[in-house]
Structures are given as C-alpha cells and as structure tokens.
Subunit: 389 residues, 4 copies
C-alpha cells in the first residue's frame, strides 16, 4: 500500500525503482496539489466567464492554495464510497470556503473532469524531469560520440564480432535514440488537454458558458483546449502510453549495451562512481549498478502500456472500471520511465571508456576492415542533435 | 513515490485500488519484517547445522525481532549504491548485534537469497487475505445459487437475450470460477520455496553445510525446500504470475456481469450498501461501486503478469535488471489481485437480487423454453463446492 | 503455421479476425514483393551513385519484378540456417541474374537492411486500407452526428443513467476519436524510414557512397531517409506500436458502445445487415456481429504492443532474438488493427438507430435536464472534422 | 493473412518462428479435424445416451471422418456472417449426411461448445510435441550436467565474474527449469476439459440427457468432464496461458545464457551444427542461430499471455468479442512456445562446450574460491530428474 507521505522518502525500493524527479510528481501530495489547482482554476475560469462572482472564485482560490491543509488519508478513505477521491475533496473544499462561495466550488464539473485534468498536470510535471534527464543523457552521449569519433571497437551482431565500428558511432546512435524519445515525450506533453464535460459530456450545468469556460480553464492551467470532452475517448492516454513505452525501450537498449560492454570478459566500459557497485562479499566486483537499475525500471514499461491501452475501451459517458485502472498505472509508468531516465543519465555521466580493451578485443578476423561511413555518420548525427528543436 | 509508512494509511487512491488485506502485506514495513525474519531464520538454521554458535544466532534473532528499530528510509536510500536494500540492511543488523555475533549475520548468503526468500514470505502473506476474500465470495455465490436455484432470467449471448437460464446457475458458475481461482492460488502458496545459494548458487561459503542449512531454513520459515537454488530459474515467479492473473480474470468476469446486470435498463442486480455509490450531482444514481472497483483492480493484472513473465529471462547467476524489475511488479500484482478480491467479496455480500426485474426482462421470444439441466448443474456444483479441499 | 499462399484466402478464422485490406499486405506474398522491391531499389540506387553499372542494376530490377518466380517455401525453409529469409533470397536473386550482374545484388547491405526496409513498406501498405477504413468510419460517424444532432438519449456513467446526452454528441466523439487515431497512423506512415547500414551500421562495403546511396534508396522507395541507421534504435517500431495500439483502443471503445447500446433491453442500435448476425438455434436473435468482431480484433492490440516495446532492447549492432520477434508480431498488430477498422466501418455503415427506444429508455429521473452544449459541441466537432488535413 | 493450407509449408518466416510440431497442430487443417472430431463424438455420445439413433450417429461419424472433404476457405468465408466458422461447418456437415441423420448433427450444442472443445483438442495436440521437445532438451541438459559435473567456469552476477561455478551446475539448473516447465504443461494438458452447455449453458435442448452426454463426450475425446459448462468461466484458458508463459520464460532464460556464453569474447559455448549460423558477408562468424531463434519465439509469450488473461472477462453466457480474441492468440502462443522448445532442444543437442575457454576466462580474482555444494547439488538434481513423473 502506498501511503500519503510527501513523496520525499524513498522507502525500501524507491532509490532503485523510483529515482529522479518524476516519482515526487506522481506522489499523493502532488496529486492533491494538482486536484486543488484544477478546482482553483475552474472557479477562476467560471468568474472569467461570469457565472460566479469573482469574490467567490477568489475564496476558492485561497482555500485551494494550501494543499497541506487537506487530509489526504481522510479524503482517500472516503473515496471508497464514490469510487473516486474527488467527491470527498470537493466536500472538504466546500467546507473550507465561506457559505457564499460554496456554489463556486466544482461548478458544472464532474469528478472525472477534475481528476482527468489533474492527471494531465501530474503527467506534464512528471515528464519534465524525465525529458530533462533524457536530454542530459543525450548530451553526454553526444560528447562521447565526439571524443570517440575514431575509437575503433568490434561491431557485434547476435553477440558475435562482425566488422569494426567506432564507439563514437555507437554513442551517436544512442544519442539519436534519446533525442527521438525526448522529442516524442515533449510533443505529447505540449498537447496534453484539459477535460471539462460535466456529468456526461454536455456541460449541462455550466449555464451555457461551457465552451468559454473550457477555453479559460485551459489557459489558466496552460493545457490544450481540445474543444470536445474526451472523458471516454482516451487519445491522450494512448499518446502518453506510446511515448513513455518508446522512452523505456530506448533506455533499455542503451543500458543493455552498457551492461554487455561492461562484462568482465569484455571490459570496454565501466562505471566510475566510487560510491556504487561494490559487493560486500566480492571486493573485486564493480557492478554497473546504474545501467542495471535503468534496465530494471525500463522493463516495467511494456506491461503498463498494455494495461493503459486495454483501458481505452471505456463505456458510454464514463467507464465502469477502465478509467479507475488508469490512475496508478499511468503514475507507475511515469515513475518507471522517469527513474529509467534518471539512472541512464547517471550511468552515462559516470561512464569510463576503455579504448585499450576495445582495441585488444578486436579479433584478427576484423583486421583490415574499415569503419566505412562511421565518422561521417557521427558528424551528421551531431549536427542533427545540435539543431534547435 | 511510495514512501516507507506502515502501510496502514490508504493514501489518495488506496481505498479504491488497494483494498483488503494484501496491500498491508506488500508494504515496506511488511518487507522489512520479512527480510529480518529471513536473516533471523538463517542465523538459527546456521546454528542448527553447527556452523555458528547458538548464542550468536540468538543475538541475531533478538536484533531482528523489532523491525521498527531499522530505519527503512535510510536503508532504502543506501540501496542505490548496491542496487538492493539487503546490503545496507545486513550492515545495520551487524551493527545491532554484539561483535561476537557479527559472523552469524547473513552467513553464506547473498543479497538475492534474502530478498527472494523474503519475497516468498511477502507473497504468501498477501495471498492469505486474498484467498480468504475469494473464498468468502464463493460462499456468498453458493448461497445465492441455492436461493435462486429456480429464479429464471434471460441468458444473454453477445449481449442479446438467447434462452432462459437461472440466476442460480449464473451464481454456481461464478462460485466454480472463484473456487478454481482460490485453489490455484493456494496450491502456489503452499509450494513457495526458500532460496539459498550464496554468491552464485554454489553455497561456497556455507562450509559444506549448505544442503542441511537450506532444509533447516525452509523448515523455520515454513517454506518448501526446492533442493536446488532458483536464483535465475524463476518458476516460482511464473507460477505466482499465472495464478494471480487467472484470479484477476475470474474477478473481472464476475464484476463485469454485476455491472451489466445492474445497468439502469436491466436492473436485475443492485448494490445494497447505503454508504456507497451515491453521486452528489445525481441523487437518483446508485452506482455499483464495488463491482466497478473490483474490475479496475483486476484489469491491472494482465500487464503486470506480462512484465513478470518477460523478467523470467535472467542472465547467468544473477540478472542485470530483470530480477530488480520483479520486486514492485509482483507486489503490485499481489495488491491488485487482493484488492479485486476484497471488492468482489464486498460486492457479492451486498448484492440485492431483483427477481421481478429478471422475470419482466424475459422477452416473449424466450417463453416456453425451459432451463434444461440448470437445477441439476447447480446441485452438482454445490456438492463440488462443499467438498473438503 | 501460416503458409505461403497468396493471402487471398481467408482460412478458417480470417473472415472474422483478418478482415479488410491489411491482411493481404502482411501476407508472405506481400513480404516477398517488398523484399524484392528493396533489392531492386538498392541496385538502382547503387547505379544512381555510380558504384554498379546501370545495366547490372537493370538486370537486378528485371529479376526482382516477378515475385512469383521466387519459391517462398523453399526460401523460407532455408531461412532456418541463417535465422532470416534474406540470405536465401539473395542467393536466389543472384542465381536469377546474369553472372555479370551478380555483384550488383544486395550491394553493401546486410540482411537486416533489406528486411527492415521491406518491413516499412509492408507497414505502410497495411496502414493504407486501415486508415482508409478508419476514415470512412469517421465519415459515417459524422453523418450520424449531423442527423442525430438533437436525438436525446440517456447519458450513462458506470452503466447507470446519469443525465441526457444526444446520440449526435456520442457520434461526434466517436468521430473525433477516429480522426485522431487516423491522424496518428498517417503521421507514423509518412515518417517510416529506410534502413541501410551494412553489416554493423558503418556501410563499410558501400565504397564510401553510403550516404548518397541511402538518399537514393529512400527516394526510390518513397521512404524517409533518417540519416543514421536505426538497426538497433527501434524508434520506428515504437511509433508504429503506439499508434496501432491507440487505433485499437479507439475501435474497441466505439464497438463496445455499439454492443452495449444493442443489448436486447436497451435496443437503441442494431445491425441492419441482413446477411449477418442470425443464429441457427435462435431465430429471434440479431447479433451485432460486426461490433463483436471489431472488439475481438482490437483486443489483440495491447499484448502485441507490449511485445514490440519489450523488443526495443536490441543488443549492440544486431539483436539476438528481439529483432526476429518483431516480424510476425508487427504483422499481427497491423492485421488486427486493420481488421478492427474494417469491421468497425462495416458496423457503422450498417447501423440502425432507434430514436424511439432512446426516448423510451430515458428514465423519469432525467426529465427536465437539458443537453447543455451538446449541439454546439457537435457543430464544433464537425467543423474540425471537415478541416483539410 | 493466414490461409488454409495443410500447415506443412513453412512460408517465409515459419522455419524461424514456427519450428517444431506445434505449428502443424494449430493449422486450419488441424482445427478442421478437431471441429469435426467434436461433432463426431457429440453424435456418438448422443447415441450412447439414447437421444439419437446409433445409425444416424454413425452417419455423422462417417461424414466427419474425412476432414479434407470440407472446404476450409468456403466455411471460413461464411464465418463472417455468424462470427464463427462453426455454423457454416454444421451446415456443411448436415448436407453431407442422409436426411435421416441430420437431426443427429450438433445435437443440443451451440457453436461455442464445439469450438471450445476443439480448441482443447488443438491445445493438447500442440502441447504434445512441445513437452516432448522440452523433455528432450532436459535430457540433454542432464547429460551435460553429468559430463561437466566438475568443469569449473566463472559464475557471473550482473554480467560480472563473481565466484566460480561449474558448467554442470548451470546445466542442472537449466534441466530443473525445463522439467518444471514440462510438468506444468503436462498437468494443464491432462486437465483440459470438454465444453458442453448448449445455447446458454443449461443444455436446454439435450432432452434432459445433458449430464450423461457430457460424460460420454468427454470420454470419447479423452478430455476431462468438468461437470459444469465453462463457456464464460475461462479457467482452462488461464491455466494454458500461465503454463505456456512460464515455458517461454524458461526457454528464454536458457537460450539467453547460451547467447551470452557464445559471445566471441567469452566463447565457452558454440553451436556445432555446420548447416547453420554462417554469414555470407562474414565467413568467420558462427552465429548461435538456434539460441537466437529460441529467444525470438519465447519473447512472443508474455504479450500473448496478457491478451488471453484480459480476455477472461467474458460477459454473461457468451462474450461479445473476448471469446473470439482467444482463438488465434492461443494458437500463436502454442506455436510460439512449441517453436521456442524445438529450437532450444536443437540448440542444446548441438551445443559444443569449450572447457578450455571456461578455464581461461576465470579471472585471478576467482582463484582459490571453491565451488561449494555444486557437485552435491548436481547429484541431487539428477536424482530428481530421474524420478518417474
């Protein structure tokens, strides 16, 4: 069971499986802030379009400002009755404002509006450190590509030495993969939409101001206004799932290469961080812990993606279970991807390259075979990497 | 991020997604207890086979007794260096015993031995409330089958009324599914094995007492002694995954039926719990919250199972990532299945059957078609259900 | 086992599970054509950049033109030796050209170059009928949205009647989902890249003409030139997986709604195709077969996506298994998505709407509640749908 | 699209991805035989219990005997109307018997009864060569364990040399994994049940002879009689999924180890089959093709398992899509597991062990560390392996 702490403690496994900034952004505390932020923006937007008084909206904003004044465990416990924590949160928020402002709370909205919109905020915030870590990892890979532009090593296919490559080319391809994964995640992050539909998508209780209100709500939260409610049309979830799964795949590829190149018998890479990788029982060991942990986190991706895609089948105007199954699954996927990215950044930043071993390992069969376009490909890739995006 | 609390607080989503007893059993606190219990049993087993002094073993047992004296967050934070929390835990345990007993701590073991064995304890304890809830759900289904042995209702195929069935037969089939799922989980729980192999499976540092020690360790923990270490032969994880996934599938089927039969237009079932299912905006609504939440939890199963099965590919004598990816994935699967079971039990216990609606809904096309063997099948199924297992 | 036929026979399950045009495009015959097309374009591109004689290239083109002259089963059987069918295909192609043109076959390429590039052609061709079917389905949904702009029906949340919506709004949301899924698939299709790297990505045997050759190869095949080989950086596979999985999710949502609205007790929709849905045993039945089959196909998506994402971890310069696991998995996913789209188009095209039942089903609780912005939202959505893309 | 051939041709990818005997057993031809066998046994069982004349039953048996007289493509094409191929098959079978025997065809059954029961026959037959291959692989592993009982090699954890093990111990653990996977599959195979429920599970049209008929039907087909129809209680599918997924996991582990130990720089294992593994471009290469292909097949497992487990949520008395999604998914999983097993058997049978490289690779750090209980563990494991099961 995941309790309601601030998210700042790693717990027993968090340092391994929930590294980096994303984990905090999917914590209960972060969710509570996001939910309140949505309620706050909703009241403000309602004032913007004139269906509540500005003073009432301000009261809601004030009450929403301090997320710590809401008891996460009490609200969470009360969620069992309605199947979502939004209803008890709304009750708590109404209790926290003057009676005159009560009507301005949660106006025209249904629980799913608030939860989905908050989920988009949570996703965007969790993606931020994730793409930042991926971007830093790409920068390190770029630097390695430059420095090892001409460092020959064995190219390996099916685990067998094939023809020579350069470590620079390997790093350039890692970099391109990281840049691609980052670009996909950023594109998804930029397009995350507000959800505002009321009880069944018609905004029946928004006094005819629904379309305007949605525009203002989106603007206040810096989310996209999709025009149409998407309560059971889960394109944004499919987009997140696909881009996060792809991100995990790229991290797994690179971390897997590092693990293989760090094998005792190959020894072309090692992890320089002296605080890591030791073994109490085996003093000679230098485990590539960062790469191992990056893989562990990344491997969680595909199964979680499958769950989110399965959950796209949502009945009528609100799903009877599929929607609820998204909440933690998406958080786990955000956390796993973020953690994988954080470990990989760390891994690449502490990577020690052993060109001597690369040279020694090249078997006689590979002698005299050139490295073809490797240098030109690296140069091309570095130019692409440097392009403003 | 999941922090280190006692597991007794639900957090924002726990009441919906982590109901029932399993969630507590996969908490950090439960893990810490299990890890210490393994270290304690290991020292005792080592004394049993004469490779450490009984007094030293007793000191380890004493130090291990109070799990709360170990700082989960500090140990968890230190896990980043080694990639597992066991190394810092062993260090903390060594610091907690007299110098003379230090050699008795973690004797002949590797981190994976302790973590895997603790994981088996955690799994067994999480399965206990889960099978208990499934069993109670089956008992309620049996009672419904008896009471509605002759209550006719429409049989529906592809959503269309086909021929009549009885609600008793429906319940008897639910019951048989629950009994089957429970039996599978119990069989897996009974066969959960101890893991003891030392650094690479040879028990090289157990002074030749490894085989005996494993027998004693298994006996002390009431786990099975598999004879051979299974550090990278993950049959026990495959078994858990398959049985838990099947359990989720059965819960999803039954909860799905309840959701469908509770539809406004069908109205053959409803949820009697007056504390649940209301809607602030729509006073007329009586949402089948327990069934909805059971489905939500159960839907998390298949993706998590896929992750665990993918993680069965573990390299050499310890996997570089796949092993680490199991920890939370298995916990999430145990929690999801347990929560699904708890919600389903609750759902069935509060189920209100509306035989009048069942009769009204039977369309003219179904008139005059009998219910065949339905009663005989119910009687058969109830006899099977009553058999001692 | 899937044999080597032309793909034009449905087999026992193909009419249900491999409907539409995508299935033919992933058949062995289509693959053989694509593989030969790549070899043909490769020879031509090599002549373009001057590393083979134009006459030799023309001989390769001629020999490649008739895919039926290559024995798929013989080539497939020989694939066991190398682990791919490309090596025996290249041998057969070399045997089919004059001795003087042999050097122009497969120049500077490795098996993976040809297979990956052919896979992109196969994917693009399978996506074509798929997006066409999705697009037609969206057009039907748009028409339904227009016609039923003011047809009130019950909005349903968690299976319970909530507030009124209009069937037009439901269709407008379906339409937006289909448009979104189509746009994602089209974007992926447009970006599908050529793969050309030689034995290990350096193009060592392309005589220094590799970069130019890749440009020409891409142009000849109307694929994108990514600049850098992506043999083990599987972004294009991740993109395909994500967009196809999202497509399946949208189809499942809509088909699921149709199944629910066609239930005997609801009866708001039915399937008008008189050739379908009958039951030999139950003359009164009118099963919504097209919606059922659409769901069946769509449900295959998430698991296949998970396999493709897991397979993104590809070692070094060619993966030892993960690459091979993509071939059929991607084809199955393309076929499943295409079949789901074809069934859904058919389903919507034959949909009969029963406004009388929609009106009757509206319970008293929903009386007097308006449909809010429904009409305005439909109008907005139709304008978006009509925008050129 | 998978056409209707006899299953004896491999097609383009079958030699890699559909090796071994299972592929034929899931072909359309095998399905057609199984469907007819069920219809034949059903008529016979109906005669056994006296609800049809023996002569009519015999006519059905005769007509069913020659599966090749039924046009798979025509029947398959007609499946689009009903959503299953059973209805057109029954029509064809009725047309093939004298008018007097027509009533004896498909008596009291629904399409799902015949398809599900045939699916159990198909599964059992596909499991037969699969478990046989796994068993042979285990025997080879046992032999290797005996021969290399004292062959020291580096034990490796996280890819790093840790302490010595013996290759015999590695093989003994492989063997135990294979034995375990085989035992699980055989237990599932032995428990595969007949399905007989009529239109909605009540056997309403079996003239009160349903219970007896099910007993006879099960006996005739050597399937288990579960007592209760399981049309939407998919425990047997969950069991198959779990055991097949576990089988894939064990194959992936062993094949993965072979790939790693065959790496050029490690060279402790190689593939002796001279017909395999060569590269046209790189004469020095000896790719471990069998291990690579075994992994490729095994990697398809987890995603397919997830699909089958998701499909366990089946509505009411027949599912609107989930059931249909099982057919090919289960076949693909049976084929993938069978192919993985066939490749692994081949891999182990042709494995060349290089004890000299094992000795050379042992780094100085591992000198003087013994192999502990390795020999005793091997002896124990071989005794367990030899036990009659």
């Amino acid at each position: 069971m995941r309790p309601s702490s601030s998210g700042s403690d790693p717990g027993l496994f968090g340092a391994v499986l929930a590294r980096g900034g994303a984990a905090d952004e999917v914590s209960d505390r972060a969710w509570m802030s996001a939910l309140l932020e949505v309620e706050s923006a909703l009241a403000t937007a309602a004032a913007d379009v004139g269906i509540v008084d500005r003073s009432a909206a301000d009261a809601v904003v004030n009450a929403s400002n301090d997320a710590t004044s809401f008891d996460i465990d009490a609200i969470g416990a009360a969620a069992a009755a309605a199947g979502t924590p939004v209803l008890p949160l709304v009750q708590a928020l109404r209790a926290a404002v003057p009676a005159s402002a009560r009507e301005a709370v949660h106006i025209g909205a249904t629980s799913q509006d608030v939860l989905d919109t908050a989920m988009m905020l949570v996703a965007r915030r969790a993606l931020d450190p994730t793409t930042s870590d991926l971007d830093l990892a790409a920068k390190v890979a770029a630097d390695l590509a430059r420095r090892h532009r001409d460092t020959e090593m064995a190219g390996r296919t099916l685990g067998q030495q094939a023809v020579p490559v350069t470590f620079g080319l390997v790093c350039a391809q890692w970099m391109a993969g990281l840049d691609g994964a980052t670009a996909r995640l950023q594109a998804v992050a930029r397009a995350l939409p507000v959800q505002y539909g009321g009880a069944a998508g018609t905004r029946a209780t928004a006094d005819g101001a629904g379309l305007d209100l949605a525009v203002h709500l989106a603007a206040r939260l810096a989310l996209r206004d999709p025009g149409l409610p998407w309560h059971t049309i889960r394109l944004p979830i499919g987009d997140l799932a696909g881009a996060l799964g792809t991100g995990c795949g790229i991290v797994a590829k690179i971390a897997g290469d590092v693990v293989l190149l760090a094998q005792t018998e190959i020894g072309e890479l090692s992890d320089a961080d002296p605080t890591r990788g030791g073994s109490s029982a085996m003093a000679h060991k230098a485990n590539p812990v960062a790469a191992v942990c990056a893989r562990a986190c990344a491997h969680r991706g595909p199964g979680l993606v499958a769950t989110l895609l399965s959950a796209m089948e949502q009945e009528h105007q609100r799903a009877a279970g599929a929607w609820h199954s998204e909440w933690r699954t998406l958080c786990d996927l955000l956390e796993a991807t973020g953690s994988a990215a954080a470990w990989l950044r760390d891994c690449l930043q502490h990577l020690v390259v052993h060109p001597d071993r690369m040279a020694q390992n090249l078997t006689a069969n590979l002698e005299g075979v050139g490295t073809g376009d490797a240098a030109a490909l690296i140069d091309f890739a570095l130019r692409e990497h440097a392009r403003p995006r």
